[in-house]
């Protein structure tokens, strides 16, 4: 309708005009919960409906990367370079670095599927095998497996649904190279490699474990900070560890479903270097909804999504050890700004996933429950203002 078009036009001017260096908006046929880099220019996305789903490898538009000659490049579309079918939901997808392999989990069991993403001669993503998880208790769904991978030869993946079943599996043989020694049934929210051998396991109850695949020693456990006095509900936690050449310099951020964020040093996970109360809507969210991530190429920046239809960027360098309210450095609200968003019983659009580009400092991709996928390069207004 004419009114809607006018409203849309205002959006362009108000929100999107000044604040982005680049902005691309796409609509997938089906929403995705995963965005995983498979190269500097390609990502994988996949559906999560209960039955048949597609896994797609998309090549980002040339225009995004044509830095000097951007003006001469008209091409702004995604290209579907590879695709495959699966008859399960894809809740988790991990690319194995240095290979054309990906591993997926369906969130229902701890078994994983292994895929060949395809080469130049074919556009098919083919299932090549599966990996059995350790957990024998099927049907008890606390969310499915978490998966982590780092470059190794031969390729290996770290996976598990709860602490007691975390293992390192060699992809080609299926051989278990390492098992985490713990009886804890803490459900995992994420796994992160800090180096070739050291890894961090974040649990949804806030516990963090750090272990070394070279030893069979019990992992180091760090519990979360005590919950706020007022909350009666159980609090969920999500974790990210910053990458770096030296694992001891690594920092860990923990985010709770009540919006509390804590930054700790790896050497002292029990203490918090800084903390903040983030500006998020703390409506009930599931263990799978929220993503928190350190920017790989931008100091101290953290991206947060899943609480609403927005992706927020925070500058953690201004946080202190006192719990104070923090305002985001930038907020990408594009997913929630849609004509369909009204209060007529339609469920609100939520961001399902986001990722940072591994090298370009301010480039992110985000996906939402309505099937939209955005690629954006935001302008740091505060830096611009300081000039």
């Amino acid at each position: 309708s004419a009114a809607m078009e006018e409203a849309e036009f205002d959006d362009i001017l108000d929100d999107w005009f000044i604040e982005y260096k680049d902005l691309h908006v796409y609509q997938l046929e089906h929403p995705t919960q995963v965005i995983e880099w498979t190269s500097g220019r390609t990502v994988c996305v996949a559906g999560f409906s209960p039955s048949k789903n597609e896994i797609l490898e998309l090549r980002l538009p040339r225009k995004l990367f044509a830095d000097e000659n951007k003006g001469l490049c008209a091409e702004r579309d995604f290209k579907v370079v590879h695709g495959g079918f699966t008859d399960r939901p894809v809740r988790c997808l991990r690319h194995v670095p240095g290979t054309r392999c990906a591993v997926t989990g369906d969130g229902l069991s701890s078994n994983l599927q292994v895929w060949d993403l395809g080469g130049d001669d074919s556009d098919v993503i083919r299932r090549t095998g599966s990996i059995e998880g350790r957990r024998r208790r099927t049907g008890v769904s606390e969310g499915g497996s978490s998966i982590a991978a780092r470059p190794s030869s031969p390729p290996q993946i770290l996976h598990g649904a709860q602490i007691s079943d975390v293992q390192l599996t060699e992809l080609s043989s299926g051989q278990t190279l390492y098992q985490l020694e713990s009886d804890s049934a803490d459900p995992l929210s994420s796994l992160h490699f800090l180096s070739d051998a050291v890894f961090l396991a974040g649990c949804s109850n806030g516990n963090i474990y750090v272990a070394d695949t070279r030893t069979s020693a019990a992992p180091q456990l760090s519990p979360p900070p005590p919950p706020p006095v007022s909350s009666g509900e159980s609090v969920l936690w999500w974790t990210d560890a910053s990458a770096g050449p030296d694992p001891s310099g690594c920092r860990v951020v923990r985010l709770s479903s009540s919006g509390q964020a804590l930054v700790s040093d790896l050497r002292n996970l029990g203490g918090a270097v800084s903390r903040a109360q983030l500006d998020v809507q703390t409506l009930r969210c599931g263990p799978d909804d929220v993503r928190v991530s350190w920017a790989p190429a931008l100091d101290d920046c953290i991206a947060v999504s899943g609480f609403s239809g927005a992706v927020q960027i925070y500058d953690a360098s201004v946080w202190t050890s006192e719990l104070q309210e923090a305002r985001p450095l930038f907020e990408h609200r594009g997913h929630a700004v849609s004509p369909e968003q009204s209060d007529d019983g339609v469920p609100p659009i939520l961001v399902t996933s986001h990722v940072w580009h591994p090298e370009r400092p301010r480039t992110l991709l985000s996906a939402a429950s309505d099937g939209s996928v955005h690629v954006w390069d935001w302008v740091d207004q505060s830096a611009a203002d300081k000039r």
Binding site: Q27, F78, K79, V124
Partner: protein, 610 residues
């Protein structure tokens, strides 16, 4: 088996030369006749040798249909019709007919005059070609001949673009050409009814694309214009007379209003006149919004957009100018470009593809120094009569932006269209089948999918249904036989005569057929001889046979008739002795054509058992 054949013509797999041959119901149709813009030699034309090795195509084609005016769909048309030779009908929509010759002439001028090519069609050839064109209206069925009919559907994409439905008898094909499923600011979205064609033909290239939103493209455009204006620069937008220009004007006008901008926006007058002229002619082809605007006021009565005068190009300060032609190859846009190119504050925004040989093409390829022709302002003494051409080198310092606004369907759009039309089979052309297994698999979840390579023919068997009327008497008779009602999943045999009268078929009883045709019924009777050894007399043998049959063939009517025959149902048995030996009996069994086989063999088996 009835079948439809589809062959995409031409070498190379890339998009850039649409030309598809379809054979349906004995008719041969050429869909589009495009030029490949990337080649400078004969490879830019489709390979017509597939149709015939020698000579004219008139005898081999029933018609040619052009989907829209883009050169990669109509660029080779004059070459095909005038240089290879075709005198049959060429169908296209009214806007396409009006705009095609302009683009073809422009293209010809650039290729021949600027690039000096020789094996190319002439202006006269373009005119002669267009004389063969029969224009189409939307949703109007056109009889090409007694059997072949075609109908055009709205495709969006550009003014006059159509999808075409081709029908021969009960077989049909839909060709999409280029189309768009999301409405533009000035064009609607493609639409087709649930026509369920045997084949839907579409381009494969777009099927693997997921398009960036229109809002983002517009945002980019506005941002670039705004940045240039803010720094005091001038923006040149070379456009063809129609389509995109209107879209961008509407966008800028709204933006200027919203941002309260003061810099002037100009539209060259030639453009205005042409655009108005075309829109008046083809108002039904634009979307509702434009139609309303046009009806209420002149298309170009914008508050912020004024008519351009040549002298304005020298005015200081920021401005935006829309000027023709679109590829900067001549005329006003080139004049303005030459004046503004040297200032890095300025910008040129190219809104579409530029043909090789044009300035537009060169600057889009990053060329920053252009050799241009200038005219001498004074005459030298050594050669006073010959015009002196100077080569000027133009330094391109202004910002060059390439923005693609052309509206194509993408992966999602294609599935939307397929589900609208519900074809029995899908054919995707101009793709590499080997590399498109996933796409094929995806479509094949719902429809059969073929991906022929260029020059490769795919054959699709069709299952045309032939409607037949059945006489009421026959129907009643069949119903009276009892048993279950006829069911498509459980066919049952019935007996009747099929009469073809004029163009209709009907099924009647044999008696009625004979009556209608004024024929007498002939009865066929078959006779077979069976030899038996039996010492009895002829009548006794006959009686024995009678008794025997009565005992073994229970449930059948067996009669011993006074005329010396035995009848089993309608089978007649006579006995006679052989002339040579009275112990050798010859049984004559005769039956009419209707009698079922098994009854006869049972009968003879029964006799032999004794």
């Amino acid at each position: 088996m009835p079948e439809i054949k589809v062959t995409p013509l031409g070498a190379g797999q890339d998009v850039g030369r649409s030309c598809i041959l379809v054979s349906i119901g004995g008719k041969n149709i050429m869909l589009d006749c495009g030029m490949h813009m990337g080649y400078n030699d004969d490879r830019r034309f489709p390979d017509f040798s597939y149709i015939t090795q020698n000579g004219r195509l008139t005898d081999f084609l029933d018609c040619v249909i052009i989907s829209h005016f883009h050169l990669d769909h109509c660029g080779a048309l004059p070459y095909m019709s005038e240089m290879v030779g075709y005198d049959g009908p060429i169908y296209m929509t009214h806007p396409t007919k009006a705009i095609c010759p302009i683009l073809l002439e422009d293209f010809r001028k650039i290729t021949v005059d600027k690039k000096g090519e020789t094996n190319f069609f002439t202006s006269q050839m373009i005119k002669d070609c267009m004389k063969k064109v029969i224009p189409l209206n939307l949703h109007q069925t056109v009889q090409v001949d007694d059997e072949l009919e075609i109908k055009a559907y709205y495709a969006g994409h550009v003014l006059g673009a159509a999808m075409v439905h081709i029908k021969v008898g009960s077989e049909s094909v839909v060709y999409t050409g280029d189309y768009n499923m999301t409405p533009d600011r000035h064009l609607g979205a493609a639409w087709i009814d649930k026509c369920r064609p045997d084949i839907l033909i579409s381009e494969s290239t777009y099927a693997t694309t997921i398009r960036d939103s229109k809002r983002c493209r517009e945002r980019d455009f506005l941002k670039k214009v705004h940045e240039t204006i803010e720094r005091g620069g001038k923006v040149l937008i070379p456009v063809f007379a129609l389509g995109r220009a209107q879209e961008l004007c509407i966008l800028l006008e709204t933006f200027w209003e919203r941002m309260n901008l003061k810099a002037p926006i100009y539209f060259s007058t030639g453009l205005t006149e042409k655009a108005n002229h075309y829109y008046k002619l083809f108002i039904t082809w634009t979307n509702q919004k434009i139609r309303k605007t046009f009806v209420q006021r002149n298309m170009f009565e914008f508050k912020h957009i004024k008519a351009f005068d040549r002298s304005y190009a020298d005015n200081p300060g920021p401005m935006v100018v829309f000027a023709t032609p679109g590829m900067l190859h001549a005329g006003q846009s080139l004049q303005i470009f030459k004046k503004w190119a040297g200032n890095e504050k300025n910008m040129v925004i190219m809104p579409g593809y530029c043909v090789q040989g044009t300035i537009g093409h060169k600057i889009l390829n990053g060329q920053r120094k252009l050799e241009m022709e200038g005219r001498a302002t004074s005459v030298t003494l050594c050669c006073p009569l010959a015009p002196i051409k100077l080569q000027i080198v133009l330094d391109v310092k202004l910002q060059v932006e390439y923005m693609s606004f052309s509206a194509h369907a993408d992966a999602k759009g294609i599935m939307q269209l397929i589900r609208m039309a519900e074809p029995r089979n899908m054919v995707l052309v101009h793709g590499e089948a080997v590399k498109m297994e996933f796409l094929k698999g995806k479509i094949e979840q719902e429809f059969n999918c073929y991906m022929p390579a260029n020059g490769e023919t795919i054959t699709v068997t069709t299952n045309p249904s032939v409607p037949v009327d059945i006489s009421l008497n026959l129907l009643k008779r069949e119903m009276a036989l009892g048993g279950p009602l006829p069911d498509p999943k459980k066919p049952r045999t019935m007996h009747g005569t099929l009469i073809m009268k004029e163009n209709s078929l009907k099924l009647v009883s044999s008696e009625q057929a004979l009556k209608e045709l004024g024929l007498n019924e002939h009865q066929l009777r078959f006779t077979c001889r069976v030899q038996l050894q039996d010492p009895h007399s002829d009548p006794d043998t006959l009686h024995r046979i009678y008794t025997h049959l009565k005992s073994v063939l229970k449930g059948y009517t067996i009669q011993h008739l006074p005329d010396g025959t035995v009848m089993v149902e309608s089978i007649v048995i006579k006995v006679s002795s052989s002339a040579e030996d009275t112990n050798t009996k010859v049984l004559l069994l005769s039956w009419s054509y209707q009698v079922k086989y098994f009854q006869c063999s049972y009968l003879t088996d029964g006799l032999y058992r004794d």
